[in-house]
């Protein structure tokens, strides 16, 4: 009897306590006011002429607004200004933001800063261009190998058999260059109908691409397709095809998105282009940044996907927004 009452009293008190806590939790949902999350995105460039990064920024802001977090976007004026980005990154770490989203201008040189941020317990997420370090929580980017394979598979079905194909690439050693070529080769090398005559580097100059394409077309009459690995290469090659009036005879498969490319698509000079999803990239990176703060873990790589655009499907409603992201 006595023993039972001894247990009943604390039990009831506990019940009351829990009831109280329950009401408070129910009404305030979060018992402790959340510290404001401040995300800083260090992009490759803040040049407003770079449509790709403008879309990324728009998406980032939209995500930040939707998630109710603070977002600051910084970056060098030019993509090649590595020094500037390093300085910006230093300053950002000083501010001690909640998370840093980094689109690295250099794979190697930004590693120490990523490490520094890590030591100060600031999580880092890399976007579009990663760093050579296992520290970033995830790398949000297009899977270039997969994108290239998609393009190659499409080309495989459209290039006439017994053809020669050439790969026009931008910079030897650049991540995108290596991965895209790897993807393309993985498909086409296995196909006995095609001969890859080689990879030619443009050093990211349109003129070089134009010259290379011209000379290749002159040199190899059986050349039926050019695979250009970035926008600059695509435009150079497209010009060469148009100038030599090889449209339809030499097909062009490329990457990336620009108004000029759109026009070549319409014209039929460019047979297909694989485009990234910058909006998805920007949106996801911010969302992941917040999720990382909430303790979620992510695989080292987050694919944002790519889309194969052809003259036939380019005006599909779902593709218009990708090709023409901004309302003018």
């Amino acid at each position: 009897m006595k023993r039972r009452t001894v247990f009943i009293v604390p039990a009831i008190l506990l019940f009351l306590l829990f009831t109280g806590i329950f009401i408070i939790l129910y009404f305030t949902q979060t018992p402790f006011p959340q510290k404001e999350i401040r995300v800083v995105a260090v992009l490759k460039t803040i040049d407003t002429n770079m449509e790709f990064w403008e879309v990324v920024k728009t998406a980032m802001r939209m995500a930040a607004n939707e998630l109710g977090i603070g977002l600051e976007i910084v970056g060098p004026p030019d993509e090649s200004d590595i020094e500037s980005q390093i300085r910006i990154m230093e300053a950002v770490i000083q501010q001690k933001p909640s998370v840093i989203i980094l689109a690295a201008t250099d794979r190697e040189r930004l590693v120490p800063l990523v490490e520094k941020a890590h030591h100060q317990r600031i999580p880092v997420i890399t976007l579009d261009s990663g760093v050579k370090s296992p520290l970033p929580r995830t790398f949000v980017a297009t899977n270039n190998v997969e994108a290239a394979r998609e393009l190659a598979r499409y080309a495989q079905n459209h290039i006439p058999p017994e053809s020669m194909v050439a790969i026009v690439n931008h910079i030897p050693g650049a991540t995108t260059a290596i991965e895209r070529e790897q993807g393309v080769r993985s498909i086409l090398e296995k196909d006995p109908r095609f001969t890859i005559i080689g990879t030619y580097f443009t050093d990211n100059f349109e003129e070089n691409a134009y010259t290379i394409a011209r000379s290749l077309m002159n040199q190899y009459p059986r050349l039926r397709a050019l695979l250009a690995m970035n926008e600059v290469s695509v435009i150079g090659c497209a010009r060469a095809i148009r100038d030599l009036e090889k449209k339809g005879k030499v097909q062009l498969y490329g990457f990336d998105n620009s108004l000029v490319e759109v026009q070549f698509l319409e014209e039929g000079v460019l047979n297909a282009t694989v485009i990234q999803r910058p909006f998805t990239m920007g949106y996801l990176s911010v969302q992941i940044a917040v999720d990382v703060l909430r303790g979620k873990t992510f695989p080292s790589f987050t694919d944002t996907g790519s889309v194969l655009i052809t003259p036939e499907n380019m005006y599909y409603p779902e593709h218009q927004k990708l090709l023409f992201p901004f309302v003018k």
């Binding site: 009351l16 009831t19 009401i23 009404f27 759109v262 319409e266 909006f279 409603p317 218009q320 309302v327």
Partner: protein, 646 residues
């Protein structure tokens, strides 16, 4: 025992407090949840009304633009210049072309929101509002969606979804297109297609200007469910975000919960009048109630406040209720410990008050009963003592009468007279009109008569002095206290001594400090054999026991009298022998009664007991004795002058 009681009372109060707390907390929780629900419902309703109004506003705005485009198309359909231009053959169009363009130009000038007005003849030859505009060489207008749709239903306006207008060279604008097949006013034959482009930017501005909570937004779908406008169109196409468009198309209601996993949103749908579009407002459920956080916090605060108040009140109320019970229990405990004077002073007009009154009645009854028992016991005791006194007296009377007979036979006339007179006085005094309390004077007189008798009997072997100061004689005492002590001194002290003995009776008044009653100390001193330490201690212990235990038990008193009667026979020979040799007067029977193995007779204990009975345990006898030197008995009495009730 007190621990058990404490835990018991603890549980009553705590149980009550807990019960009240649970009840009141439950009520508070229910009340707060309910009123919160009502508040929220009200807020939700007003938010719903607000959202509906906003969405209707947007729908009206968009409708207005569509209506405007439609009126342009009607105007162009009916315009003679346009009809003329389209009806003319290509070669004869030069002048009509100019006039038609002017018509188009007028239209576009009046409105900035229109980005393009164009006419296409059946061959797809264009006429733009601006001469500088060029057609996109890679696009055939006749294969465009807007062209085909317009051709399918001549005379009707076709409104496209939002799209990139690709018909112009180097221009890719986001627009909403109206296309209409222009028919001849004369023969209703199809003449060409009119294309009017409305800047999509306008729709975007209208829709994005509206804020539905922090995260809510507005989007537009067309009749087929294609997105006309959505702020996150790209996310939807890439599958990162979902809208339940089939649900919007199917549901008749204009305000409902969207069936989308992981998203708690409400759709507010408004149909457009001029086009088969729907404007959809998206409200996040958790944002429906404006400053919900604030409301919640306020409610939580009130909840906690009421919560604490109710618990506090519960404790107070429980205490209020349990306090009289506790007090009653404390009274009960005192009664348990033997204090029957306690009365509970709870004045409450409830069950507890009744309980307290009943308790008081009960205690009173018990007290009365106890008192009555005590009284009866005392009366019984007194009567026993009186009986004992009566028992003592006959022995003495017997002895004395025996002595008188012996003296009369011996012809000692004067002694006979003296002894008889003393005996008579002694009895008169000991009767003392039946009173138990007498003055010390009368008591002294009593013992004087007794000693007179004994002096005659013992002659030279007994001397006595009575030295009681006169100031003591008016004080009260229990009667017959000196005589038994003197008797004891004679029989145990002096008689056993070889030579003559002296008995001194004295006394004094002892002043006690203020507040205490003065005392009288009488003493009876003899120079007899005295007592050894062991005997003295035993005697003192006996007196002490009487003192401590109050009334001696029935069996003890009985044991004494029994021992006494038993001793009277066993000691007979010894005493008579002594008596015979010393006085020459046989004192067999008298001596028998006062001797025995017990050195201190029943009389002494009797005296002590009676003093204590009447005056309290603080009074009584004290013995001092030294072996071979004698014994002194002190009698402590209160100094009382007034009569006292017996």
């Amino acid at each position: 025992m007190s621990e058990r009681a404490a835990s018991h009372s603890h549980s009553i109060q705590v149980t009550m407090a807990l019960a009240f707390s649970v009840v009141s907390v439950s009520i508070i929780v229910a009340a707060i949840l309910l009123s919160y629900a009502f508040t929220e419902e009200a807020a939700r309703l007003s938010s719903r009304t607000y959202t509906r109004q906003l969405i209707r506003q947007i729908a009206q705005n968009v409708d207005m633009y569509i209506d405007y485009m439609k009126s342009i198309s009607s105007f162009i359909q009916g315009n003679q210049d346009i009809q003329g231009y389209l009806s003319a053959t290509e070669e004869s169009r030069f002048f009509s072309r100019q006039r038609a363009r002017e018509v188009l130009e007028t239209i576009i000038r009046s409105r900035k929101d229109i980005s393009l007005v164009a006419l296409f003849d059946m061959q797809g030859k264009p006429l733009f509002h601006d001469e500088r505009l060029e057609v996109n060489p890679h696009r055939d207008p006749r294969r465009e969606n807007w062209f085909v749709s317009a051709m399918q239903r001549p005379g009707e306006s076709h409104i496209s979804s939002s799209h990139v207008q690709n018909i112009l060279k180097n221009q890719y604008r986001w627009v909403i297109s109206l296309s209409r097949c222009i028919v001849s006013e004369q023969d209703a034959s199809t003449l060409g297609i009119l294309l009017v482009d409305l800047n999509y930017d306008l729709i975007q501005r209208i829709c994005s200007s509206v804020r539905l909570g922090k995260r809510g937004y507005v989007f537009i779908i067309d009749g087929k469910g294609e997105l006309v406008y959505h702020p996150q169109q790209q996310l939807i196409y890439s599958g990162l975000k979902k809208e339940n468009i089939p649900q919007i198309l199917e549901t008749k209601s204009d305000y409902f919960i969207a069936d989308i996993p992981d998203m708690k949103v409400l759709y507010s749908v408004q149909n457009l009048q001029n086009v088969d579009w729907k404007v959809v407002g998206v409200n996040y459920k958790d944002e429906l109630v404006e400053n919900q956080e604030h409301i919640r916090r306020t409610y939580a605060l009130w909840g906690v406040a009421f919560f604490s108040i109710s618990i506090l009140l519960s404790i107070v109320v429980a205490q209020q209720i349990s306090r009289p019970i506790k007090r009653l229990r404390n009274s009960m405990r005192l009664v348990e410990q033997g204090n029957f004077h306690i009365r509970s002073n709870i004045r409450a007009n409830n069950e507890i008050g009744e309980l307290a009154r009943d308790f008081n009645l009960m205690v009173e009854e018990i007290e009365k009963l106890l008192y009555r028992i005590k009284e009866q016991q005392e009366a019984k005791r007194k009567s026993e003592l009186k009986a004992l006194q009566m028992q003592i007296n006959p022995h003495f009377l017997y002895n004395t009468l025996d002595s008188i007979i012996w003296m009369a036979e011996g012809g000692k006339q004067t002694e006979v007279v003296e002894m008889s007179a003393a005996l008579a006085k002694l009895f008169r005094l000991s009767i003392s009109k039946g009173r138990e309390i007498v003055t010390i004077g009368s008591e002294v007189e009593h013992v004087r008569n007794y000693l007179t008798i004994q002096k005659i009997r013992y002659r030279d072997r007994l001397d006595y002095r009575i030295e009681i100061p006169d100031l003591l004689i008016e004080y009260r005492t229990v009667k017959i206290i000196l005589q038994p002590l003197v008797e004891n001194a004679i029989y145990h002290g002096i008689k056993n001594k070889g030579g003559p003995g002296l008995v001194v009776i004295g006394g004094c008044l002892i002043h006690e400090p203020e507040g205490s009653r003065d005392r009288i100390e009488l003493f009876v001193q003899d120079d007899g054999v005295g007592m050894d330490d062991e005997t003295l201690q035993r005697l003192r212990k006996r007196l002490g026991r009487v003192k401590n235990e109050g009334l001696p038990s029935e069996s003890e008193a009985g044991g004494f009298s029994e021992g006494e009667s038993g001793a009277s026979f066993s000691g007979e020979g010894g005493l008579s022998r002594k008596g015979g040799t010393s006085f020459g007067i046989p004192l067999k029977i008298a001596d028998n009664s006062h001797s025995g193995t017990s050195h201190h007779g029943l009389g002494v204990l009797n005296v002590d007991e009676r003093i204590k009975l009447y005056f309290g345990p603080a009074y009584g006898l004290r013995y001092e004795s030294q072996e071979g030197k004698g014994t002194t008995v002190y009698i402590d009495l209160p100094a009382i002058l007034e009569d006292i009730e017996e």
